[in-house]
Amino acid sequence: MYIAPDLLDAIRAHGAETYPEECCGFLLGRPTARGNHVLALRPVPNRQADHRERRYTITPADYQAADRAARQQGLDVVGFYHSHPDHPARPSATDLAEATFPGYTYVIVSILQGIPDALTAWSLAPDRSRFDAEPISLTEPEPSTR
């Protein structure tokens, strides 16, 4: 994943804001041969009815709205982010069981006692058996796309 530092900070801030509940949102950008280039974020409410401190849900309607918004900016939905309140920034068994398609970048930020901690990126293996860690390469901020 390629992303500007201020976007990573915005993900961390969203996780701190919703703590002790999980935050979630979309990564908008462009798929490239070297990985997804994230150029904008689209935070969305956690639609999970209960246990939002350990579960998140993004509805198909949210996806469609994000997809439309992305296309209006000449971008695509390239992934998702969510927080793990008081839990490590690695995919859980639930994350794997609910995983969608290989090719999306899944960002996870750990929020410990309300303070953002580790932030990691993952992608689903082509055989759906596991998440593989994705390197995070920092880019220059691109204000024109936000």
Binding site: Q48, P60, F101
Partner: protein
């Protein structure tokens, strides 16, 4: 020539699945129902199948199929009839947690 019994429709493919459709953002398929159209899609692009269907052949729970703006769960699901030129979309719902 027998009268044609097929209906040609378009299925829009989410970005990450385009690596399984040769890069195509949409695929023309045939079928009288949503179920038939999806079966035609995976026949044309078999690498899509494990990402859309479970091993026992059911649509994965996070895979939502829309005909236009309507979720087929609120229509007749797989048996939802489609008309020529219909546009189908594959829309994921996303979930997880610690």
């Amino acid at each position: 020539m027998p009268a044609t019994s097929t209906t040609s429709v378009t299925i829009h493919i989410p970005t990450p699945l385009r690596s399984f459709t040769g890069g195509s953002a949409s695929v023309e398929v045939t079928g009288q129902t949503v179920g038939e159209a999806l079966k035609d899609l995976v026949r044309r692009h078999p690498a899509l199948e494990p990402h859309l269907y479970t091993e026992d052949g059911r649509l994965r729970s996070f895979v939502n199929i829309y005909v236009g703006d309507e979720d087929i769960r609120y229509l007749d699901r797989d048996a939802t009839a489609i008309t020529p030129g219909a546009e189908l979309s594959i829309v994921p719902s996303i979930a997880g947690g610690r």
